[in-house]
Structures are given as C-alpha cells and as structure tokens.
C-alpha cells in the first residue's frame, strides 16, 4: 500500500519540473519568432561546390516537408484514375506537397504533363524518363485532362508536355486540342502552356497560339554559356528565344514567360546578361528564377546554392529592366503558384481594357 504514495523527494522533483516547464512556456518564443524568415547568413555550411568535392548539403531554406494530406491523396487518385501524368511527380518537384494540398487558400492545383511520361530528349537536369520511341499519345488525354481540370475549383491552370521529336507534328496538335477542350468547357479559366521548342518549327508554334491560350511559356533553362552543358543537344538559346519571339509576333496580346535555373555554375553577371537578352531581344513579359536541385544521382550536381537574398536582388533587377513580373526564390518553379496571382491580375486588366474599348 505504501508504494502507491510518492515519497516527499519525488513529489518535490515533479513539482519543480512542472514549475520549470511552466516558466519555459511563458518565457519561450512568441508568434513573431515563427513568422520571421531566418536570414541565410545564419547558415554556416558550404554553398559552393569545390573541385573534387562530394555533393553539397541542402541548406535549410530548401528543406520541404513530406507531402501528405487529404487534397494530396484526392489529386493523386484523380490522376491515376484518368491516366494523367504530372510533371510534379515525374520531375520530382519539391513543392508537390504545398501545391497539391492547396497552400494557404486551400485551392489545390497540379501541372498536368501531356503526351505521356517519356521524353525523346535527355537533358542533364531533368528526371523525366527518356526514350527514343515513346508510346503513342493517348487519344483520350485531351478530353480527360479537360474533364479533370474543369472539375477543380481553380481559375488558373498550367499545362506542360514532354518533347516528342518522334511525332510528325511534335505533339503540337495534341496540346492545342487539350487547350481548346478546356476553353470550350470553362471559357473563363486562364490557361498557361509550357511548351517544348518544337525544334523551332513555326507551324507547331502557330498551332498552339491559335488555340487561344492566355500565357505562352517556354523555358530557356540556363545562361547562354551553359546551354550545351545542361540541355539536350537539340536545344539551344537562340532557338528557345525565337519560339517566344514568334509567339508574340503571332499574337501581341499574348503574355510570354520563361524560366531560369540557377546554381549550375553560372556567374551573377551571366544571369543578369541573360535576363537583359530575354527582356530586350525577345520581349518576354514574365520570368521565374529558381534554384536547381539534383533530382537523382545520374543528373548534374548542384554547383552552388544561391542565397535567398541574391534571389531577391535578381528579382529587383528584373523588375527594373522592365519585366512585368519576376517570381524569384529558391523553391520557385516555372509553374509555381505564387506567380499566378500577379499574372491573373495582368490578364484581368487586359481583358477589362479590351471590354472597355469594345463597349
């Protein structure tokens, strides 16, 4: 019976512990502490890969959580049921948890990848499967994609695709059909399409532009000096810029957008020079800058982890040379949701202006 009672010393011990925890809780961090972004200067680790060194460790501002949640599972099931591929899964995007679950506004979105999950090119930064002869495109894909997208409660969608150099029209009519299906079912849905370079074929670009999309995106991926090192041999800087120039030529009201990956060994001056060329020579409206992260062992190592402050500086520089919008940050990707809000505003303003003129 005596063992049910605590000794006096034990009572003292537990009581003191309770008091200590109570004071820790009352004197602990407040809300501001959790809202404040940690300055990257606190991080002491190595950010630049030296000669002969192993992989760099991922700095804290790039760590993301394991994706899970109700919306996430729902989206995953929708995709597999309709046999749709997403670049989110195929290219191992770190933002998949955030975008598929819905972020702060709980609006979930995904970037559907058309024309299958096998690409005919082998770029050294991309983990999408490569094949010389991928399986023929699913003829039901345009309708299934349109059905899936129109069932979601969103007002902006990004479509992308793999390269299909094996098809006669390089997949452009398939993509255009998807965009038209979506526009038919939901005319007010804003569509951005991230297209391949179609090896510069103007007819393919025309097919896409004619489908009446709202934002035409094509990524130059990296600075001019690293193009042959990073991308497939069929891709190059001039060709990619010409795609964007021609799209704008066909429809001057179209918003064009491109994207750069940083951390592959380029210098800050090279990035700025590339941004200048994209803005002045190619007249591109929007730009996204993100940190390159090595998807698998077979891909290029990260040469440098760029600090968030540098991303901020580049964003200011981009806006100063005339970009309508620059989305710049380590985890920003070309179809990352953060950029959409601004682009939506631009498009709405344009539409309102057009309606005002028509009235």
């Amino acid at each position: 019976m005596t063992k049910h009672f605590l000794r006096k010393s034990q009572i003292n011990f537990y009581f003191n512990r309770y008091l200590h925890e109570k004071s820790r809780f009352e004197n602990g961090p407040n809300l501001e502490y959790f809202l404040k972004q940690p300055k990257s200067n606190d991080y002491q680790g190595n950010l630049i890969l030296g000669k002969g060194e192993q992989r760099l460790r991922i700095p804290p501002w790039l760590k993301t959580e394991i994706p899970m949640g109700e919306n996430f599972t729902k989206l995953k099931n929708t995709m597999s049921k309709l046999n749709l591929n997403t670049v989110c899964v195929e290219a191992k995007c770190p933002n998949i948890g955030e975008c598929w679950n819905g972020g702060e506004d709980r609006i979930a979105t995904a970037t559907i990848m058309l024309l299958g999950d096998e690409c005919t090119r082998g770029c050294r930064f991309c983990s999408v499967k490569t094949s010389r002869k991928p399986s023929p495109p699913d003829p039901n894909e345009p309708e299934n994609t349109a059905k899936a997208i129109c069932s979601w409660d969103i007002d902006y969608i990004v479509l992308t695709s793999v390269d299909r150099d094996d098809l006669s029209d390089q997949g452009s009519s398939h993509i255009a059909q998807t965009i038209s299906s979506i526009k038919r079912q939901k005319p007010n849905l804003l569509i951005e399409c991230l297209t391949p370079d179609f090896r510069g074929d103007k007819k393919c670009i025309e097919t896409i532009v004619k489908s009446n999309l709202d934002v035409y995106a094509h990524n130059v991926e990296t600075v001019r000096e690293l193009q042959s090192h990073v991308r497939d041999y069929r891709a190059n800087f001039e060709q990619s810029l010409n795609v964007l120039i021609y799209a704008k030529e066909l429809n001057p009201n179209l918003i064009t957008k491109t994207s750069l990956m940083l951390g592959l060994g380029e210098t800050n001056e090279q990035i700025r020079e590339t941004m200048r060329q994209i803005r002045t020579y190619a007249n591109v409206d929007c730009l996204t800058l993100g940190q390159y992260m090595q998807p698998t062992r077979r891909h290029l190592k990260v040469k440098e982890f760029i600090r968030p402050e540098v991303f901020e500086e580049l964003k200011n520089y981009g806006e100063s040379i005339g970009f309508l919008y620059v989305a710049s940050g380590p985890l920003v990707r070309s179809s990352y949701r953060a950029g959409e809000y601004f682009i939506k505003n631009i498009l709405k303003t344009k539409r309102q202006k057009k309606e005002a003129v028509n009235v």
């Binding site: 050294r124 490569t130 010389r132 497939d232 190592k301």
Partner: protein, 135 residues
C-alpha cells in the same frame, strides 16, 4: 550411410558452384573519373558500363542522362587503343551521339553500349571532362 555421402558431395558441388559462379559474375575494372581519380569498380558480366558506374555508386554527375537510350552523349568514355579495337563496331545512332560529345577521341565510346565481358578484366575506362573548366 550412402545417402549421407551422396548428399555431402551434392552439397559441396552446390557450394562450389555458388561460390565460383559468384566470382564468375563480376570482374574488376578501373574507372578514372573527371578529377583523374582512380576507382576500382566491380562490373557485372552482361550489364553495360553505364550500369557499372551506377551500381558502384560512383560520383560522376550528369552521366547517362538519357538512361542508355542513345539520346545524349553524357556517358562518353575513352578506352586504350588496343581494347577499343576489340569492341564490336558502334551502331549508327551511337556514332551520331558520339559526334556531339565534348573532347571526342578516336578511341571514344558510349558507356551504355559497352556490354561487360570476362575478357574486359582490368580494363581502364577514362571519363573525360564534359565542359571547359571555367574555374
């Protein structure tokens, strides 16, 4: 009694076969990476040299970007001239990709097209630099 003897011989046979086939399955090759470091690698007979680099978890980045489908030239390796002559002729697609490789030599091949054979024991494969080192 006889059963015991037969079983022990049978088991020994199996044991020997398993042991010897293990050593027969792999050969030792030498790979020199882009920083001129010598690496001893175990190459499985029947696999290709790209698989060897991946299986040995070698730290050569951007090697085999197209996963061995002859759509890139990132698994470019250079061999000794005698060893090079003994390999089967490359197919046209391999030659097309090799033409784009940086630092091409007369004894260059794509690692994904070299199938490992027992006679390739102690061969040396050099992985050349893939870009002008700007540092």
């Amino acid at each position: 009694m006889y059963r015991l003897i037969i079983r022990s011989i049978f088991n020994q046979n199996l044991f020997l076969k398993r042991y010897s086939s293990n050593s027969n399955n792999y050969i030792n090759v030498t790979i020199i990476d882009r920083d001129e470091k010598l690496i001893n690698a175990k190459a499985k007979i029947g696999s290709n040299m790209l698989d060897v680099v991946l299986d040995n978890k070698l730290d050569i980045d951007g090697f085999g970007a197209c996963e061995g489908t002859l759509a890139c030239s990132t698994c470019h390796v250079v061999l000794d001239s005698e060893n090079y002559k003994t390999l089967p002729e490359p197919v046209e697609e391999e030659n097309d990709m090799l033409d784009l490789a940086f630092g091409l030599t007369p004894t260059s091949r794509l690692a994904c097209q070299i199938i490992v054979e027992p006679r390739m024991k102690d061969w040396v494969f050099v992985v050349p630099k893939d870009v002008n080192d700007q540092r």
